[in-house]
C-alpha cells in the first residue's frame, strides 16, 4: 500500500479526534455567563422604554461580581438603538445599546459590583422599544462570572444538599483525571497496535484469564 494512502487513511481516522479536541477547547474557552433573572421593580412583565423614565432592578448580594445586565426584547422587526444611563453603587455611566429580538443587549455594570439596586434611565430611544420576556428568557437578566467558577460553585452547593458532604470538587477533579487518563490510554493503544497479536486473536481460542 503506498505511503500516501496509509497516511490519508490515518488522517481520516484521527481527524475526528482533532475535531473533538478543538470543539471542547472552544467550549471551555467560551466560559459560561452566570445568568440569573433580575426582577424589574414596580413594572409590568413587558414595558416600553421612555426617555427620562427610570426603572430599577434589585440584584441579590453575590460572592461573584455582577458584570452586566442583559436586556431582552420580544419585538419583531429591525434593530432599534437606545442610549441608557446605568447607575449602580453610586457610579453612573451611559451606554448605547442595540435591541433586536433573539439578541439580548449587554449593559455593563461597574467593576466589582456585588449586588444592590441598579437604576436604568433611557436618555434617548429610537422609536418605541419594548422590553419583555421572550421564549423563556426574562426581560432583564443579571450576568455574573464569565468564568467556570460560578457554575462549579453552584453545582457544589446542589451536590452538598444531595450528599450531605463537600465532595463535588474532588469528584470533578477525579473525573477529569479519569477522562484524561483514558484519553492518554486510548491514544497510546491506538498507536501501539499489534497487528500480529490481533490477527492471532481473531477466531482463536480464548486465552486463560
Amino acid at each position: 500500500m503506498p505511503t500516501w494512502v496509509r497516511l490519508a487513511a490515518t488522517a481520516l481516522i484521527i481527524g475526528p479526534l482533532a475535531w473533538a479536541a478543538a470543539l471542547l477547547t472552544q467550549d471551555l474557552h467560551a466560559r459560561p455567563t452566570g445568568r440569573s433573572p433580575a426582577v424589574v421593580q414596580n413594572t409590568p412583565d413587558s414595558f416600553t422604554l421612555s426617555p427620562g423614565r427610570t426603572f430599577r432592578v434589585e440584584l441579590e448580594p453575590s460572592a461573584f461580581p455582577y458584570r452586566e445586565l442583559r436586556l431582552v426584547t420580544p419585538q419583531a422587526g429591525p434593530a432599534r438603538t437606545a442610549r441608557l444611563e446605568v447607575c449602580a453603587a453610586a457610579i453612573c455611566t451611559a451606554h448605547q445599546v442595540r435591541l433586536v429580538r433573539y439578541e439580548p443587549a449587554s449593559l455593563p455594570l461597574p467593576s466589582d459590583f456585588r449586588g444592590g439596586g441598579v437604576s436604568i434611565t433611557p436618555l434617548a430611544v429610537e422609536g418605541a422599544i419594548v422590553l419583555g420576556s421572550f421564549e423563556g428568557a426574562p426581560a432583564v437578566q443579571a450576568v455574573r462570572g464569565f468564568s467556570w467558577s460560578l457554575p462549579i460553585a453552584r453545582a457544589a452547593e446542589i451536590c452538598r444538599a444531595m450528599t450531605g458532604a463537600n465532595v463535588f470538587i474532588p469528584l470533578l477533579a477525579l473525573n477529569a483525571v479519569v477522562l484524561a487518563a483514558l484519553i492518554v490510554l486510548a491514544i497510546t493503544f491506538a498507536w501501539r497496535r499489534s497487528a500480529s497479536d490481533e490477527d492471532q486473536a481473531r477466531g482463536a481460542s480464548l486465552p486463560s484469564p
Binding site: 475535531w19 467550549d27 457554575p151 446542589i158 444531595m162 450531605g164 469528584l171 473525573n175 483514558l182 484519553i183
Partner: protein, 449 residues
C-alpha cells in the same frame, strides 16, 4: 495488562464516572425521575408494589414538591437555570404522611427488580432529607452501571479474545454518554443496560465454549433479570435466541433448540406472569386513545421525517441529557456520525478481510437493528393514539453491545484495508471521552450558570 487489572480499571472508571454524574445532574432531572423515585419510595416506605393505575394523583407530597419546585421551572426551558435551594421547601420528612404514596403513575407497571435495589439504598438513607434519599437511589443505579461496564469488559474479552479489547469495549460502555447518564439517575434503564450487556457477554462466552452450560446459565439469569427490570426487554429475545442457537450448535440440531428454549424459558415465564399481573395498568394506559392516526399518516409524519430520525437516533441515542432537553452542539454529533460512517465504509471496503464470524456479526447487528427499529415504530403507533410520542433513541441502547462490537470491527477493517498507522477503535474511544467532557461542561452551563 492482566485480565484482573483490566477488570478493576473498567469497574473503577464506571464507579468514578457514575458517582460524579449522580452529583452533577440536578434532582430530579433524569427522564421521568420523579415517577421512578416514587416507585422506589412506595416499596421502601410501604413494603408494597405500586397500585396498578396508570393515571391517578401520583407521588408523595415530598415527591410533588421536588417535581413542582425543582423540575417544572426548568424542563425544556434552557434559559432557566436550576433554582436556588433556599427557595425549595419540601414537607417535613419526619412526618410519615410526607412520604406516603400509592406509587401509581407512569412507572407503576414496571416490575420490581430495579426498584427493589433502589429501595435498599433508600432504606440506608431513610432518615435523611428527600434529596439525599434520591441521591442514595441514584447510587443504586451507579451499581448497575458498574455491572454494565464489567459485562462490557467480559464481552470484549470473550468476543475478541484479548484483554486489550475487553478494556476497549469496557471503556466504550463507560463513556457512551447516554448510557453513563441513565446509569447515574433513578431509572430502570440502568438495570436494563446491565442485563443487556450481560446477555450479550454470555453469548460471546458461548461462542468460545459452545458445549459449556455456564454461558447459558449467565444468559438465563441476565435475560430473566432484564425482563424483570423492563418487560420490553422481551423484544430483544428473538435476537438473543437466534444467536444462542447458532453459537451453541446448529439450527438443524434439536438439542440446540432445546438448550436455547430452556435458557430463555425462565425469562419468558417471568414476562408472562408479570404481564398478567400488570395488565390493569397497561390497559388503563392504552385505553385512553384519543387521537386518530392512520398508518400512512404515521409513516409520513412520524417515521420518515429526516429531522425526527436525526433527533431520535443520533442525538437521543448518543447524548441527550437531563429531561432529554440538554443536547450538545451539533458538530459533536457530526463527528460521531463521521466515525460511524468510517466504520461502515471500512466494513464494505474491507469485507474480504473479515473472517466469517466478523461478517456474521455485521449482518446480525444490521438485522437486529432494523428489527429493533421496526418493532419500536410498530409500538409507537398505538401509543401515539393516546396522544403521546413514544420512540426515543435510548430504547435501542439494550443492543449497544452489538453496536460496539460492530463499530470496532468496522473501524478495524478500515484500518486494515488501508494499512493505517493507528488502531481506529481506540481513537473512537478517545473521541467519546472528549465528548463526555463536553457533556459535563454543557450540563454545568445548562443548569448552574
Amino acid at each position: 495488562m492482566s485480565f484482573r487489572l483490566g477488570l478493576w480499571v473498567v469497574a473503577g472508571v464506571a464507579l468514578a464516572r457514575g458517582t460524579f454524574l449522580a452529583t452533577l445532574i440536578p434532582p430530579p432531572h433524569g427522564p421521568d425521575e420523579p415517577a421512578h423515585f416514587d416507585h422506589v419510595q412506595r416499596i421502601a416506605e410501604h413494603g408494597r408494589l405500586p397500585e396498578l393505575r396508570a393515571r391517578c394523583a401520583a407521588f408523595s407530597p415530598e415527591g410533588l414538591a421536588v417535581q413542582s419546585q425543582l423540575r417544572d421551572p426548568l424542563v425544556f426551558q434552557p434559559d432557566h437555570p436550576f433554582p436556588p435551594l433556599d427557595s425549595f421547601h419540601p414537607p417535613d420528612p419526619t412526618n410519615p404522611s410526607a412520604r406516603a404514596t400509592t406509587g401509581c403513575g407512569p412507572a407503576a407497571a414496571y416490575p420490581p427488580l430495579y426498584y427493589s435495589t433502589g429501595a435498599v439504598a433508600y432504606r440506608v438513607a431513610h432518615r435523611s432529607p428527600v434529596l439525599q434519599r434520591l441521591f442514595a437511589v441514584r447510587l443504586a443505579s451507579v451499581t448497575w452501571g458498574i455491572a454494565t461496564c464489567v459485562f462490557a469488559y467480559l464481552l470484549g474479552f470473550w468476543w475478541f479474545g484479548r484483554v486489550r479489547d475487553g478494556l476497549l469495549i469496557g471503556v466504550l460502555a463507560a463513556t457512551q454518554p447516554m448510557m453513563g447518564f441513565l446509569s447515574s439517575v433513578v431509572n430502570n434503564d440502568a438495570a436494563l443496560f446491565a442485563c443487556g450487556m450481560g446477555s450479550f457477554a454470555a453469548l460471546a462466552w458461548l461462542r468460545r465454549q459452545p458445549q459449556s452450560v455456564k454461558p447459558l446459565v449467565l444468559l438465563a439469569v441476565c435475560s430473566t433479570a432484564g425482563v424483570l427490570s423492563k418487560p420490553t426487554y422481551i423484544l430483544v429475545f428473538p435476537a438473543l435466541g437466534f444467536a444462542a442457537l447458532l453459537l451453541s450448535g446448529s439450527l438443524r440440531r434439536l438439542s440446540s433448540w432445546l438448550r436455547t428454549a430452556a435458557t430463555l424459558a425462565p425469562a419468558v415465564a417471568a414476562f408472562v406472569l408479570w404481564s398478567l399481573y400488570s395488565q390493569p395498568a397497561m390497559r388503563d394506559q392504552l385505553s385512553q386513545s384519543s387521537t386518530k392516526v392512520s398508518l400512512g399518516e404515521f409513516l409520513r409524519q412520524w417515521v420518515f421525517v429526516g429531522h425526527r430520525l436525526y433527533r431520535i437516533w443520533v442525538k437521543g441515542y448518543w447524548m441527550n441529557w437531563g429531561w432529554l432537553d440538554t443536547a450538545l452542539r451539533e458538530p459533536y454529533y457530526g463527528l460521531i456520525a463521521a466515525l460511524l460512517l468510517l466504520a461502515g465504509v471500512g466494513t464494505l471496503l474491507g469485507w474480504r478481510l473479515l473472517v466469517p464470524i466478523e461478517r456474521w456479526l455485521v449482518v446480525f447487528t444490521a438485522g437486529a437493528t432494523l428489527y429493533g427499529l421496526a418493532i419500536l415504530y410498530a409500538l409507537e403507533l398505538p401509543v401515539l393514539r393516546t396522544g403521546l410520542a413514544f420512540v426515543q433513541g435510548r430504547y435501542l441502547l439494550p443492543i449497544f453491545p452489538l453496536h460496539a462490537l460492530t463499530i470496532v470491527t468496522g473501524l478495524r477493517a478500515f484500518g486494515r484495508r488501508f494499512q493505517a498507522y493507528c488502531d481506529a477503535p481506540w481513537v473512537f474511544a478517545a473521541v467519546l471521552c472528549i465528548i463526555d467532557g463536553a457533556a459535563i461542561a454543557r450540563s454545568l452551563v445548562r443548569y448552574y450558570s
